[in-house]
Amino acid sequence: MDLVLVQIFNGIQYGFLIFLAASGLTLVFGILGVINLAHGSFYMLGAYLALSLTEATGDVFLACLLGIPLAAVFGWAIERLFIRRLYGRDHLQQVLLTFALILIFNEVQRMLWGNYPHSVPAPTWLSGSIRLTDTLAYPIYRLALTVICAALAAAMFFVIRKTGVGRLIRAGESNREMTELLGFDANRLYGLVFAAGVALAALAGMLAAPVESVYPGIGERILIISFVVVVIGGIGSLEGAFLGALAIGVADALGKVFLPDFAGVLVYALMATVLVVRPAGLFGRTIR
């Protein structure tokens, strides 16, 4: 029984992390209408930024503070250079161009950081463990990570629901033409959203670095999982992504213990089931 509880907790922690990555993907997809296969690369970028910036600053949280603007600027530039050419093009071309970006990003990562796996230290003031049962303790950084992700999720919902930028994002998601008719430059909005999506993915990578270790191809698993989450939740739906991410996290964690051979299959089976029952995902497709 302890095991189930611990695994549910592990699942929630993993779920929060993939929510952070998937939220960027769902925003970009919901608003820009672009299938961004390179989203995982931005997670990878975050992980490696955490590696370099933690070495420079000594603390992964300082690294995050520096890394977020860097990632956002990078995302903004990528949108200008490539993604902008994909609006309104068919999915085939979107898949291809972003697939080509993966090839490039992976190689750039190799050039800059090499092939070895690295570990990023958790901040010393969070490096201990808390005892959960008489045999099992839980690393404090993982707890902190869960709290931070929950806080970020709350902040994201606040921004989307309560701020002017959030209103504009929701408006752009439901009716691009009308937002333009009200005087908002959709291209700028799209640039902003894409930069935000990249920053979110990178932030997830940065926060995960101390628990995951940093290695080439780290973004690809998270990419596929993020797509699963987006589809389960409904394209463009943050609530959906949130529930989807938690469901996937818990299913994966429990699956690893109770169906070890089929944990990998389970996640996709969950997605297939959701699609059969609710073809548009758990939450239709508008952000409220």
Binding site: G164, R167, L168, R170, A171, E173, S174, N175, E177, M178, E180, L181, L182, G183, F184, D185, A186, N187, T286, I287, R288
Partner: protein
């Protein structure tokens, strides 16, 4: 039934005075031409009725004027002395043209309040005449419904919201596509009443609508489109005086 084909009399709109002066507008959907060399002008403070049967190009003209469609290489769209042809819709909106589109374009996932404050901005000359209280004043119904989602509104409320939202951008020219379509008679009357109030503030208005009587009461001047061309242009009196003309271009 005699049919008098009135040729566009651009002379009645001296371009020097015009708030909006569009010429050579030739919009096409793919290879299908929708507008053929259309000229259209609005004077400051004037209310213009844009008429024509379905599919004759009214919506296309409004969408071209707001930059959603390209008016073709020959188009010139001068607004307050600046050529807006080829500009993006956002730039045109900021220059002071607001459109209340067919279908109303309410953001279903924003509340009434959010729909309005999203649009709030000073006009092109820096004035902020239309504010949230004033819009709520104009449409008390919206104030009651301020916390409701956009898709929880009735058609009439949506149209009020769409007009109110357009006003929040403090435009110099307000254009309404199918201003009262699909609305109950009482609601229509309210919309017309509101438009007269807005017109009285000196705002220039272009209205597309099928209710000719109300439109004739509101508008100073009318333009009729048929098959993508301007077939009539003149004051309301010219139309009321010549029912045959109305039947030729608008009737059954």
């Amino acid at each position: 039934m005699t049919i008098a084909l009135a040729t566009p009399t651009t002379s009645s709109v001296p371009t020097g005075e015009a708030l909006l002066a569009a010429t050579g507008v030739a919009t096409a959907h793919g290879r299908i031409p929708c507008l053929r060399d259309v000229a259209f002008a609005v004077r400051p403070g004037e209310t213009v009725g844009l008429l024509g049967r379905n599919g004759m190009g009214k919506t296309t003209l409004l969408r071209t004027l707001t930059g959603l469609l390209s008016g073709g290489p020959t188009a010139s769209i001068r607004f307050r002395g600046v050529d807006l042809a080829g500009r993006r819709p956002a730039a045109i909106a900021r220059a002071g043209i607001a459109l209340v589109p067919e279908g109303r374009g309410i953001f279903p996932n924003l509340t009434v309040h959010e729909n309005l404050i999203l649009a709030a901005r000073a006009g092109p000359s820096g004035k902020r005449e239309w504010t949230l209280p004033r819009v709520f004043d104009l449409f008390p119904r919206l104030a009651e419904r301020r916390a409701n989602w956009g898709d929880q509104l009735s058609g009439g409320e949506q149209q009020m919201l769409s007009i109110g939202r357009a006003l929040m951008t403090n435009p110099e020219l307000l254009m309404l596509d199918e201003a009262t379509e699909g609305l109950a008679p009482k609601v229509r009357d309210e919309i017309w009443k509101t438009l007269r109030i807005v017109a009285a503030t000196g705002m220039a208005i272009v209205v597309v609508d099928k209710n000719l009587e109300d439109l004739f009461e509101l508008a100073d001047r009318h333009v009729i489109l048929a098959k993508g061309e301007v077939v009539f242009e003149g004051p309301t009196a010219a139309l009321t005086a010549d029912p045959a003309l109305v039947h030729r271009w608008l009737g059954v």
